[in-house]
Amino acid sequence: MPFSLLDFMQALAAGIMVGGAYALMCIGLGIIFGAMRVVNFAQGDFMMLGMYVAFYLTTGFGVLAFLGPYAGPIVGAFLAGPAVFAIGWVLHRFLVSRVTGTGVTQAEGAGGYAQILVTLGLALIFQNGGLILFGSAPTGIRTPLSRASFEIGSVLLNEAKAVSFVVAVVLVAAVYLFLTHTRHGKGLRAAADNSTAAIYMGIDVDRAHRIAWSLGVGITAVAGGLLASTQSFQPYVGFDFVIVMYAGVVLGGLGSILGAFWGGLLIGIVQQLSTLVLPYQLQNTAIFVVFLLIVFLRPQGLFGRLSERT
């Protein structure tokens, strides 16, 4: 074996830690895809927005400086959620709803194409608009946690990553409770499961879509905010995460929220474990390979189900 057990444990721990944030962003994408069946190319760029919101609130403008170096970045990441949620709400209201939803023919006509182009257009605008607003230099949130580590046995855990993992898991639980125990959440799940039936049951599916879209980008933004204190980023960072997110969501099963969580977590672990046997540059190739394997061997994912009627 080219690596020791300790290396393995270390990589596994790192994978779980980074997997928490991945799981969170996968849930964001999963909610959107599950409810609306829209392939959102701009999802990674909403995450990038979350990173910058958190960055400016803590380091940039220092609004949250009074919270201290420990709580500040976490609160900043949380606040990225509502901020991006609001942006998403407005975008859906005036743009996305015009090419998606119940009023648009999904089957074959124009609907599907227009959605793809609109999200691609949004991705272009965000990336390049980000370049104008934020500049191209890589940046990151500095917290004393970034350089401190817990030691469990002989395995080192980066404190910033550990904290972001815990926060991500708590947020995942909150989202899960929202979806299963609130009126809006249940409506959203009904719309995702069968939008026609949901309409007949008196659910405002277009409203459910708006909630799904805004919530989805908001949650992904929080995940971005959490990652902002553990890695450096620039306005183009979103692309790197698009495939991570789709891989996680497909791995868990399209439309399954719990599946998206485990899928994201597993992608994090695969990414870190692959560094044991593969050169650093091929880290993401490992994700693609896992992604393709899942798609071929079990397209319904770990938690998904297949149902098609002829």
């Binding site: 015009r98 609907g111 227009a114 990336q127 497909v250 540059q281 992604f291 393709l292 798609v295 397209p299």
Partner: protein, 595 residues
């Protein structure tokens, strides 16, 4: 390669291609600056990639988010061939076509098992995986060496207009291939796949083979364009040829210009590529990023105005204002007669012990069935009895877990639906599966490709089949505008046209009013009288009793009765399955009282 001669549309497209050449060459000679020539070359190259992408994704509806894989492989084939082996691009670009075609086959082989979003997302992964692999292999930057001794031998020209000519040649080649596809059964097969893959498969189209051909052609064309791109740019980096921007480019250009049309991708490239370049040149250095924002806003604005793309939007406007009203096609009247199937004696279709379950649900359980040659055989049963599942098992959509299915003495087990269709079994669907954006006759022609070598013969056969079911007058209407009765008959004609010996009709009578019902019943009866064997599903007893020779009754996946209609309707178990136990009890009480 033989284009459909004589059709005016094809001729128009060919003239348009000639026109394109004239305009591009004139532009090349009018342009003075090298920069503008460079932009023109880029327009042509991206247009070629988009036409290639459209050939697969536009016609078949299988969205590829990963055409950068082919583009990039083409670029690296040319660059590495020149650097490592001194291979001139004159040979490198054809070699790139081979590499691209092979990559298409290798990618298509596993990926075509996927549908819809899964296919699109899987395609996204290939170029990005290649990007990292090429980086890892150490090809972060491959410059093409200057060949000073014999530059022309290595496709290196001082006069940049030469590249315009080369790129134009590639685009014309791509357009000709695309036109050939569009006007032959190749294109019809792809369009049928796009609109309804199961129906295409059941109509005898080998969907997998057509998709493979499309991706191989598309990959080869895209790789050639990528190869020339490397020659023009003189340096290849993984990001510039495998990146997301390359993959999204043909998507954006084709969707913008008009997907599924020959000229849409060209229009998209002509408008958007210069726009992006001009924005980059004018604004890029002042405010980096502003060009991307403007480009993004432009795409969104236009797509809100024309969600289906510029080409279709403009065409719609032109057709509506009457400038180019579509003239009704003159129909050559002599409708050829279809040969009638011979009906023999004995059983044409025999099922023994067929079983299949989904999860814990036993959908079919030990089903045995014999359909006599030349008979009209009805399958009835309550909702969820397994009737449609039985058809899906017979025509190959589902594979039974146990039992045997024999048709005219040969086993059907393990055959794809299109093979089953070729054996002589046609089918219709419970929910009519029409190709809504094709005309009625085109819908039926799709089914005719099995028997007909020639596209002309196919059309004749389709017209004959339409005539046989009595809707020949609707041949040129769009299928989307038909009534339920006409749709059912059209589907029936599509199933008839390959001249099957056995027809599977899935609730052909559902949702019809009295008059429509009678007209379809008479068509079915006539088919039987002409010697066709028909297996029909219904759950309304009434219509069936009048129609069929024999009944088989299914309930909960089991055959509960079989025989002549008069016997079956009195069968106690049948009444129970339909009306419940209490009803049978009452019937027997009354019966007892009568005695």
């Amino acid at each position: 390669m033989r284009l459909n001669p004589g059709t005016t549309a094809t001729a128009r497209h060919l003239w348009a291609i000639v026109g394109l050449c004239v305009v591009v060459l004139a532009a090349a000679f009018a342009i003075r600056s090298e920069y503008d020539e460079g932009v023109l070359v880029l327009v042509l190259l991206w247009a070629t990639l988009s036409v290639a992408w459209n050939l697969l994704s536009g016609y078949s509806g299988l969205f590829s988010f990963g055409h950068a894989a082919f583009w990039g492989l083409g670029a690296y084939t040319v660059a590495l061939g020149l650097v490592n082996f001194g291979l001139t691009p004159w040979l490198g670009i054809p070699l790139a076509a081979v590499v691209g075609g092979c990559a298409g086959a290798l990618i298509g082989y596993p990926t075509f098992r996927l549908r819809g979003h899964y296919f699109a997302l899987a395609m996204l992964a290939y170029p990005l995986a290649m990007l990292y692999v090429f980086e890892w292999l150490g090809y972060q930057e491959v410059p093409l060496p200057m060949e000073r001794t014999a530059p022309i031998l290595y496709m290196q020209f001082d006069d940049k207009r030469a590249y315009v000519v080369l790129a134009l040649a590639l685009l014309v080649a791509a357009l000709l291939v695309s036109l050939w596809v569009e006007t032959t059964r190749f294109g019809r097969a792809l369009m049928a796949i796009k609109q309804n893959e199961p129906a295409a498969e059941a109509a005898g189209i080998d969907t997998w083979r057509w998709k493979m051909r499309a991706i191989v052609l598309s990959g080869a064309l895209a790789a050639m364009a990528g190869g020339l791109y490397a020659v023009v740019l003189l340096v290849v980096t993984p990001d510039s040829v495998f990146g997301m921007l390359v993959s999204s480019q043909p998507l954006i250009l084709s969707l913008f210009g008009g997907i599924g049309s020959l000229w849409g991708p060209v229009i998209g490239a002509t408008v958007l590529v210069p726009l992006a370049e001009v924005l980059n040149a004018q604004l890029g250095d002042k405010i980096p990023g502003i060009q991307g924002v403007v480009y993004g806003v432009a795409i969104i604005a236009i797509i809100l105005w024309a969600p289906e793309g510029v080409y279709w939007r403009v065409r719609e406007k032109v057709t509506r204002s009457g400038l180019a009203g579509s003239e009704p096609r003159p129909r050559s009247a002599p409708v050829m007669a279809l040969p009638q199937p011979r009906s023999g004696q004995g059983d044409l279709l025999v099922l023994r012990g067929v079983g299949i379950s989904f999860g814990g649900l036993r959908a079919l359980d030990d089903v045995g069935l014999s359909v006599q040659d030349g008979s009209l055989h009805g399958i009835i049963g309550p909702n969820g009895a397994g009737k449609t599942t039985l058809f899906n098992v017979i025509n190959g959509f589902l594979r039974p877990q146990s039992g045997s299915i024999a048709f005219a003495g040969t086993s059907l087990l393990g055959l794809m639906p299109n093979r089953v269709c070729r054996c002589g079994i046609g089918r219709t669907f419970q929910v009519v599966r029409a190709f809504a954006r094709m005309t009625v006759v085109e819908n039926v022609i799709v089914g005719a490709y099995i028997g007909a070598r020639d596209d002309r013969v196919a059309e004749q056969m389709a017209l004959a089949a339409l005539d046989r079911v009595g809707i020949a007058d609707r041949a040129d209407s769009m299928a989307g505008g038909l009534t339920t009765r006409e749709l059912r008959l059209m589907e029936l004609a599509r199933a008839l046209v390959p001249q099957p010996r056995l027809l599977l009709l899935d609730e052909t009578l559902a949702g019809l009013g009295h008059e429509d019902l009678d007209s379809i019943l008479s068509v079915i009866r006539r088919l039987r009288d002409e010697g066709m064997t028909v297996l029909i599903i219904e759950h309304t007893m009434q219509a069936m009793v009048r129609l069929v020779d024999r009944f088989t009754v299914l309930d909960h996946g089991r055959v509960i009765a079989s025989g002549a209609p008069a016997e079956v309707v009195r069968d106690r178990r049948v009444i129970e399955a339909y009306l419940g136990r209490r009803w049978t009890d009452r019937v027997s009480e009354t019966a007892a009282g009568d005695i």
